[in-house]
């Protein structure tokens, strides 16, 4: 649907109530695959991590990966789910060339975890509790690459290549019950929910949780119904939306698209839809109906998974703190103001800042670099800041070099670009490129910082062009340096600092 045909978002919400449902697939980071001993590794040469089991040669049989079961239980527990004492696998039968057996070994009526909930906080500060229907274990399919044709899709392709390295990689699919009442914030709620799932699985250490690699994939169900109507509207399922921002955009788009159709009296087709990041739109995929017949039946090659109470309790005891608790804790530890903290959360930078602080940076310095310079660089490269190739340790080292007066802000930003280019750690780069400020400057900068700490308004004043305000700081520095400092240099450094921050 063309942009101008979409219904205005506010109008759509006036006319309809939005109901969403989310299915999140989490790829587990186990050493081996779900049902065989092949390496579970992203990015290896195609079809090198394969064996008779995961390419479904005749006679091969699956055996369940114990670690994957434990990871799935941990995810279930972290979502407040009940854990099934007896869970069977089932076969979901359909033909597709990325599915070696032409059935997916999954769980159907006996998921390992069920009936949980997850509380998520939206950027506006509003809080929603999402009901989790189930979390079940299954295996990933292989990866198809369609060759020829313009879209990279199967339609129009001349032929397709299959890489079975991913076939049999363990997945946990987390399914919500319908989510009501988010109103205009439904898109934000969808993204915040997936963000929380990511935090949970990362916190558990059971997934690398990198959306750009497909470690966490979200299918978003959206339906609309007139306010006051009880019956749910027809839903669409937008598949494999690969970033938090895309989730938000895709849900918003579907709301506007469906509202426009409904307003014209056109029925919504129950179907899967594909999200196109470049066009900012979804397009129709396969028609889907509840009558899709996967001929599920219990997997006869596997005995039921029967986790003992002891196992479940030992996994429960190892659960990390809940994301909401963690947020409260770190905000207090770091001393961030509410707005500062919300920016950090919305930029998805909690892990990065935690890592940076752990590596020795001051919390505010860590925040400033991540939400400031690094976010700016990421934005200019049209990336998510979390995708930048830089570790918290490197950022911490950078802040320490600044604190020690070995770098001023300008140099630090320069060093940062070299770190992002993969030239090494900040200290290595400073040494290799000879970027260290003269030691005199270091001492001067320290004295300036000390003076500024007592007169924090001075930098703003300088930025506003009121240079006379600099006098007090220069005076304080001269006094601190017992007159040995060059007042002109102090002035230069002070202006540089004002312009940098």
């Amino acid at each position: 649907m063309a942009k101008d045909e979409l219904m205005n978002y506010e109008k759509a919400l006036e006319m309809f109530e939005v109901v969403i449902g989310l299915e999140v697939h989490v790829e587990l980071n186990t050493k081996t695959k779900m049902f065989c001993g092949c390496r579970n590794e992203f990015g290896d040469e195609p079809n090198t991590n394969v064996c008779p089991i995961c390419i479904a040669l005749p006679g091969a049989l699956p055996a369940v990966n114990r670690t994957a079961v434990e990871s799935s239980i941990s995810i279930g527990l972290a979502l407040g789910c009940e854990i099934a004492p007896n869970g069977r696998f089932a076969r979901k039968n359909y033909f597709y060339p990325d599915l070696a057996k032409n059935f997916q070994t999954s769980q159907y009526d006996e998921p390992i975890a069920f009936d949980g909930e997850l509380t998520v906080e939206l950027p506006s500060g509003s809080v929603h509790t999402v009901q989790i229907e189930r979390a079940h274990m299954e295996e990933d399919a292989g990866k198809l690459t369609h060759i020829g044709g313009s879209t990279g899709r199967i339609q129009g392709a001349e032929y397709s290549l299959v890489d079975y390295n991913r076939a049999g990689v363990p997945l946990v699919e987390i399914v919500t019950r319908p989510v009501y009442g988010a109103g205009a914030e439904a898109p934000e709620l969808a993204a915040a929910y997936v963000r929380s799932i990511r935090e949970i699985v990362k916190g558990l250490g059971v997934s690398d949780a990198r959306m750009e690699r497909g470690n966490v994939r979200c299918d978003a169900n959206v339906s609309l119904r007139p306010h006051g109507q009880e019956k749910l509207g027809t839903r669409t399922e937008t598949k494999n939306v690969n970033s938090l921002r895309s989730i938000e955009r895709a849900v918003r788009y579907e709301i506007q698209r469906q509202a426009a159709l409904l307003a014209k009296g056109t029925a919504i087709v129950q179907e899967t839809r594909h999200w196109h990041e470049d066009k900012g739109a979804t397009s129709a995929g396969r028609p889907k109906s509840d009558a899709d017949d996967y001929r599920y039946f219990p997997e006869p090659d596997l005995v039921p998974v029967q986790p003992s109470k002891e196992l479940i309790e030992s996994l429960r005891a190892k659960l990390p703190e809940k994301p909401a608790d963690r947020r409260k804790r770190v905000q207090a530890e770091w001393g961030f103001a509410d707005l500062e903290f919300r920016d950090v959360v919305n930029a998805d930078l909690l892990d990065q800042i935690e890592e940076t602080v752990k590596a020795g940076a001051k919390p505010q310095a860590a925040r400033k670099w991540w939400t400031g310079e690094l976010a700016r660089i990421a934005n200019s490269q049209d990336k998510d800041v979390t995708e930048l190739e830089i570790s918290g340790a490197h950022v911490a080292e950078l802040t320490q070099l600044v604190d020690a007066g070995k770098l001023n802000d300008r140099l630090a930003r320069e060093v940062l670009t070299y770190v992002l280019n993969g030239e090494g750690s900040p200290a290595q780069i400073v040494a290799a490129r000879g970027l260290e400020v003269v030691s005199d400057d270091g001492a001067l900068i320290a004295a300036i910082d000390a003076a500024l700490a007592k007169q924090p308004d001075v930098l703003d004043a300088i930025r506003e062009g009121r240079m006379q305000a600099a006098g007090a700081v220069i005076g304080a520095v001269m006094q601190a340096m017992k007159g040995s400092a060059d007042a002109g240099r102090v002035r230069e450094l002070l202006i540089e600092k004002a312009n940098a921050s």
């Binding site: 479904a56 040669l57 049989l61 039968n93 033909f95």
Partner: protein
Amino acid sequence: MSELIRKNASELVELLKSGQVSSVELTQAHLDRSAAVDQDVHSYLHQNPETALAAAADIDRRRAAGEQLHELAGLPIAVKDNLTTTDAPTTSGSKILEGWVPPYDSTVVKKIRAAGLPILGKTNLDEFAMGSSTEFSAFGPSRNPWDLTRIPGGSGGGSSSVVASFQAPVAIGSDTGGSIRFPASVTGTVGNKPTYGAVSRYGLIALASSLDQVGPVSRNVLDSALIQDLIAGHDPHDSTSLPESLGSMADAARKLDVKGMRIGVIKELMGEGFQPGVMNRFKESIALLEQAGAEIVEVSCPNFEYAIAAYYLILPAEASSNLAKFDSVRFGLRVAPEGNPTIERVMAATREAGFGPEVKRRIILGTYALSSGSYEHFYGAALKVRTLIQRDFAAAFEKADVLISPTAPTTAFKIGEKLEDPLAMYLNDIATIPANLAGIPGMSIPIGLADEDQLPVGLQLLAPARADARLYQVGAALEKMHEDVWGKRMIDFAPELEVRG
């Protein structure tokens, strides 16, 4: 015919151990026999004399060097062609796998190789073990050595006829509803379907995963015991394999004592529909057991009348899913359709050309039984019957240690006689199917020739799950009683085959 190849495996093993015969000699004698008779009998789909002789020579060399060898080392064996072997094609009797050489050995074949048994060849079977006569083999039927115009039973007619025609002392079969026991019954040989899970299914090309079990075929009970002891045991590659050992079958077969044992005669598996000559021999066996001090009791299994109906829902359902992997993408036959070769059309053309009529019949049946709307009426109902049959057995085993029945209602029928009447063919397995549905062990031993046609009659012994040893104990004892009456072995009644080639 070399007298050597008429001997029981237990005797051959002693000759090998004492050095009176070499494995090469023994293997060559069997290969010579195949050259002489297999043109007519057609037990083998594939033989590779070089690899068999090389394995034999290796054992002879190791024995000469004084190495500690497995008890059965050097004894040649034949393997049903639905067990994967890396040095020979594995076709499961299907065109869709013609010429396919697997990259891995089944667990049973691994054990056979590790123990040093030269593999003489791969034996014929109904396509994917679907049938009771080998007439559904894509490579032509095997023939019954007692009468070459008759069927050798199925699906394992290759393994029964190979042993009955002295082309191998022992063979490996698989039994989903009687595929070891029915062929044994009609060829005057012994066959045992072990308790489900006693022998690994890894590398057995699945027919119906919850029913399939690998087992031995031989000319006497002790020989089968030796082979079961070789191939049984837990396999981490097969999650349904039993963790515990079931003890020594050979020890049980050497007891030759049935005093005080309670033998249950299953009321529902005699009388109407059973050939008079079959019933006469069966009654003689009962009398012998009674004379030997066993207590004969009658038991009733009222739900057996639903067994075939349930079996022909569960089996096709599982098979329809197990056979989905035969899609031309990764192995086996690939047929290009006329016109545009899309993946769906290539899959369809391959399956159309590669599967035979019985396989297609069962895939269609199974797909239907699992489809939504049918599931509860068919597959679900069949599972309930399965539970009822298990209860029938549980009740019967309260009264008896071992149950007996004729293995089959009739002796071997003529090739072609039942080909156009699937239901008549299915009825052959009326006595054998319940054991597969319940997962219990079942053995067929020869008990003489039917008066009408002078063809072999088999008696089936059944025991509770894990009590395979009881079958070997009673089976060997009863075999001895019959041999004492006959003054020779059952197989010694078989007519000489014309030697050709």
